[in-house]
């Protein structure tokens, strides 16, 4: 492993975070809030430690696949540890674990909160919370990559693979730098359009910006205790549409810009994503129509809630915990499915579900025709054995982690629904679950131990399990690589 390179990139990461924190400082200055000093102190700490780590450029800029995973998981942990400092320093969230929970929830675009009263936070703290969603949605290292090439040659792809969601991450154009720029360009453009549309709907500028950040990263932090419930139907509609859009693979928008419309319609994942989404919306609409005045309102709320949990955003306009059992069951299922690969959404990912279903079908066919040869394809392209194996292993680990976390948090005296959905909501980066962690509740009743379990779950979910797990694997060839570095 190239340790020098790992620390160097971590240093860059800290410097970038200090740059990102300038935005909440500006907000704090505009609203004249005392928390500005806490932000400035944190920026100072970040700058000093960042400069120390980047003081000497490593000569060997090669990084291997393993280093990529290591940098990404360590980077996200460090980012969260420092990002939580302003909350605790200012005393707005006095407990550091709570502050860390909030920050990790922000960067991993979960949107779960351990706070009982969100409105008590200062504007700049709220802004920072939402801004972490926006940064975490597309990824911090991808952001840096758009500006400076981090590693030599293919090393950038290792980093991108480790940070971007999906079973098979590729590039749009040959250069990783251009790919990163295109992705962030699309991301920024869509966010700005949403901000404008929300502003036109009568929201304040601050609210439209923070809520757009939350939608774009499919995060889910609101600025009011009622989440999105107290805004106009127009604003809720705009957010619904944008949540659905941000749950789509960003490659589709690139195809759209290139004029390759046919490729978009051919995409099986997108069709499955929209199919699951709309059938769930319709079933829930029928199931809940007598709870609302008109069928339109039932559809509106059903659409908002389904889009919110399926893209793993976690905003809510109504308390879906009070819905009938069928609707609640559907909500839990779409929570686990999640968004498309290559989107900002979390969850298991629609493409993985497709691959698993197809391979199950193949194995069944093989049972009845033992000599049959079947190739699994997605969008007309063959799924390599490596991706297939990776997906199966991913599923296994996903289930193991879910069960393990469920056991651990069950030590706290909560009911099963709450515990189970709390694990689902954090591992899939959604935010609200059912029961006490439902849309009107929060995670404040859990003990510190459970909160740490949830923090780990959120990180595992956002980075798609493998990078975090590989961090704990013993380094078998430590010595060999040392020779390579010298």
């Amino acid at each position: 492993m190239n340790k020098r390179m790992v620390t160097y990139i971590l240093g860059i990461l800290l410097l970038v975070e200090s740059g990102l924190m300038v935005l909440p400082v500006i907000v704090a200055y505009m609203y004249n809030e005392k928390i500005i000093f806490s932000f400035l102190i944190t920026i100072g700490i970040l700058l000093v430690s960042g400069l120390l780590l980047t003081f000497k450029k490593p000569e060997n800029k090669t990084i291997y696949s393993r280093d990529g995973f290591f940098i990404v998981s360590l980077g996200w942990i460090v980012l969260s540890l420092f990002g939580a400092l302003p909350f605790t320093l200012s005393g707005e969230i006095p407990n550091y674990v709570d502050a860390l929970f909030e920050t990790v929830s922000g960067f991993t675009t979960t949107g779960a909160s351990a706070l009982t009263d969100v409105e008590a936070l200062s504007k700049s703290a709220l802004f920072w919370r939402s801004f972490t969603h926006w940064v975490g949605g597309m990824g911090v290292l991808v952001f840096i990559m758009a500006v400076v090439p981090l590693a030599r040659g293919g090393g950038n792809l290792h980093l991108m693979r480790a940070e971007s969601p999906g079973p098979d991450v590729g590039k749009l154009v040959p250069k990783s730098k251009s790919t990163a720029r295109i992705l962030y360009g699309i991301y920024l453009g869509m966010t700005i359009v949403e901000i404008i549309l929300l502003k036109l709907g009568g929201m304040s500028f601050f609210e439209s910006v923070t809520l757009s950040f939350g939608t774009a990263g499919t995060g889910g932090f609101g600025v009011l205790n009622t989440s999105i419930g107290s805004y106009s139907v127009y604003c809720q509609g705009v957010i619904t549409i944008f949540m659905i859009l941000f749950g789509v693979n960003f490659n589709m928008y690139f195809f759209l810009l290139c004029g390759k419309i046919r490729d978009i319609f051919k995409n099986e994942e997108l069709r499955a994503y929209l199919g699951i989404m709309f059938s769930s919306i319709i079933i829930i609409t029928i199931n809940i129509h007598n709870m609302f005045d008109s069928i339109f309102m039932a559809f509106h709320h059903s659409a908002f809630q389904v889009a919110s949990v399926m893209t793993t955003t976690g905003y809510s306009t109504t308390d879906f915990d009070k819905w009938p059992e069928l609707s609640r069951a559907i909500m839990i299922i779409v929570m686990c499915v999640g968004g498309c690969a290559g989107s900002t959404g979390g969850g298991f990912k629609v493409s993985r579900v497709l691959i698993l279903l197809k391979s199950a079908k193949k194995e069944l066919k093989k049972l009845s025709h033992p000599r049959s040869v079947n190739v699994i394809t997605l969008d007309g392209k063959r799924i390599s054995d490596e991706v297939l194996r990776g997906t199966t292993v991913y599923f296994t680990i996903y289930i193991i982690i879910m069960i393990g976390s469920f056991l651990l948090v069950s030590i706290d005296k909560m009911d099963i629904t709450t515990n189970m959905t709390a694990v689902i909501a954090t591992l899939n980066n959604i935010g609200p679950g059912l029961g006490k962690v439902g849309p009107t509740g929060n995670f404040s009743e859990y003990t510190m131990f459970s909160k740490i379990v949830f923090i780990l779950n959120m990180l595992l979910g956002r980075l798609e399990l493998f990078p975090m797990l590989l961090m704990f694997m013993p380094n078998i060839n430590a010595k060999k690589n040392k020779i390579k570095n010298s």
Partner: protein, 497 residues
């Protein structure tokens, strides 16, 4: 200000490669602005979109060099493992499948590409790929064609298929071997400025009069310029005060007519090779033997396969073709290894070639040995052995392609005319055109303050090439050869300190 203008100049490139959609054009224009913003962090040369089909030894080397020069490279290969490996090492994208399929080519973006390079194992496939690519809108195509039969009519093939270039690595390798055989004291000879200048590298052994003296003393009397010295895997550009030590490898620029007199005056032998043993009767041996027969050199070719040996003996009636194992000690001695003045080890195995060269040296320390190395990645190890000259066909091919790409860039606006990678790719020699806005015009070489490890090697003024001295000035319209260990120079003014 010149730098800003340079940055804005990118606009022409971006407009040129803009696709059909107006939206993407806007995006590219936005990206141009982004380029402009990041200009002070990085320098972007003109980028071409290049597709490489067939990722073997040569394909990988070519892709690696092209990426290093900042081009957008897409790889196509049927073997997904090869592609995955390349993706982990290089900043490229890859498309799996055969390059001779329209679907695969379109997916790789052939309609917008500036150059497609077909380097698969089969000549016919390469030609078919280039034909398809041309019809599908590729701007230029390069095919590797190795079969000697096709090579006879290569210009006909090239013109009728619209190829920009047909490359034949074996033929190029044979040419290079021949140049070395003509001057056995030389380790390598590269051609510059359309043959008007040669770069000759040689080992300064104890017979050499240059050893132990500073360059300004020895070279002032010679019409040659020392432009690179390799000492134990370190390469540096020598200046007047640098001292050449024994066993250094020295590269000098010298005009081809003066090579014999140059070697004579520094005390190295100049006699040409009389009899040569070639081990391995592959394509390189074929081309080499044909040329040597023309120059009336005596050759012995040892080939293992009877049918190949028979074919060679039919083609080359004057050569002594032996059917046998070239690694057999008895056979080698029987065929006169002790009396031959040169041995070319051209078998398909790099290890065999290296060991054979070492063996030949142990039999006769004065023999000239040339070994072909195709695959081995451990250059520094190979170079540390005393095996005379080494030929790397993959670098020869990569160099040719790079020169073509540079020329293409030049049409678009880059100032580099041609680029040569020499001494195992560690040194670059670039040919720049001196334009009016260069800040180096009308200053004498002595007055210029240049960066470290940069040297002005030769000046080409109105077709006459000469080695410059301290009092010479650059004039508008000249082209100059810069030798440097710094890679990525894109403008003549980059060499200033």
């Amino acid at each position: 200000m010149a730098e800003l203008a340079d940055a804005l100049d990118l606009g022409s490139n971006i407009n040129r490669c803009a696709g059909s959609s107006p939206v993407i054009r806007t995006i590219q224009r936005l990206e141009l602005q982004a380029h402009f913003l990041f200009y002070f962090i990085e320098r972007t040369a003109i980028e071409l979109k290049i597709i490489v089909v067939g990722i073997g030894k040569v394909g990988y080397t070519v892709a690696e060099q092209l990426v290093a020069e900042g081009h957008d490279v897409t790889l196509i290969d049927t073997n997904e493992n090869v592609l995955n490996e390349a993706l982990g090492e290089l900043d490229v994208i890859a498309v799996g499948g055969t390059g001779a399929s329209r679907k695969v080519l379109v997916e790789a973006g052939v309609d917008e590409c500036d150059l497609l390079i077909a380097l698969t194992g089969s000549d016919e496939t390469n030609l078919l790929i280039c034909l398809l690519a041309r019809k599908l809108g590729a701007n230029g195509t390069i095919a590797r064609v190795r079969n000697p039969v096709y090579n006879e009519d290569i210009s006909l093939i090239r013109d009728s298929l619209g190829l920009s270039m047909a490359i034949n690595p074996e033929r190029e390798a044979a040419d290079e071997i021949l140049r070395i055989l003509k001057f056995p004291s030389a380790k390598n000879i590269d051609i510059f400025a359309k043959g008007k200048v040669n770069m000759v590298s040689f080992v300064a052994d104890k017979r050499c009069y240059l050893c132990g003296k500073p360059i300004k003393e020895t070279f002032s009397k010679l019409n040659a310029l020392a432009c690179a010295v390799e000492r134990k895997n370190n390469i540096f550009i020598p200046y007047g005060d640098s001292v050449i030590k024994e066993n250094d490898i020295v590269a000098v620029l010298v005009s081809p007519d003066e090579i014999p007199s140059f070697f004579k005056s520094i005390g190295l032998p100049v006699n040409s090779i009389q009899s040569t043993i070639i081990i391995g009767g592959g394509r390189i041996a074929h081309y080499l033997a044909v040329e040597m027969a023309r120059l009336k050199m005596k050759t012995t070719i040892i080939e293992r396969k009877p049918e190949e040996a028979e074919r060679l003996s039919y083609l080359l009636p004057n050569a002594n073709v032996i059917c046998g194992d070239g690694t057999n000690r008895g056979l080698l001695m029987e065929e006169g290894l002790g009396n031959a003045s040169a041995i070319c080890c051209l078998t398909g195995f790099d290890e065999e070639n290296i060991v054979l060269s070492l063996f030949a040296k142990s039999v006769d320390p004065n023999i000239k040995t040339i070994a072909k190395v195709n695959k081995l990645a451990f250059q520094e190890v190979v170079n540390s052995l005393d095996i005379g000259s080494i030929i790397y066909p993959k670098y020869i091919t990569a160099n040719q392609i790079l020169q073509h790409v540079r020329a293409k860039q030049n049409n678009i606006g880059s100032n580099v005319e041609t680029l040569y990678k020499i001494i195992d790719n560690k040194v670059e020699a670039l040919e720049f055109h001196v334009s009016e806005d260069s800040e180096l015009v009308n200053t004498t070489l002595e007055e210029m303050s240049l960066r470290n490890n940069v040297i002005i090697g030769a000046i080409n003024r109105k077709g006459k090439v000469f080695i410059p001295h301290g009092k010479d000035k650059l004039e508008i319209g000249d082209s100059v050869i810069i030798v440097t260990t710094i890679s990525g120079l894109s403008d003549l003014d980059d060499i200033k300190a």
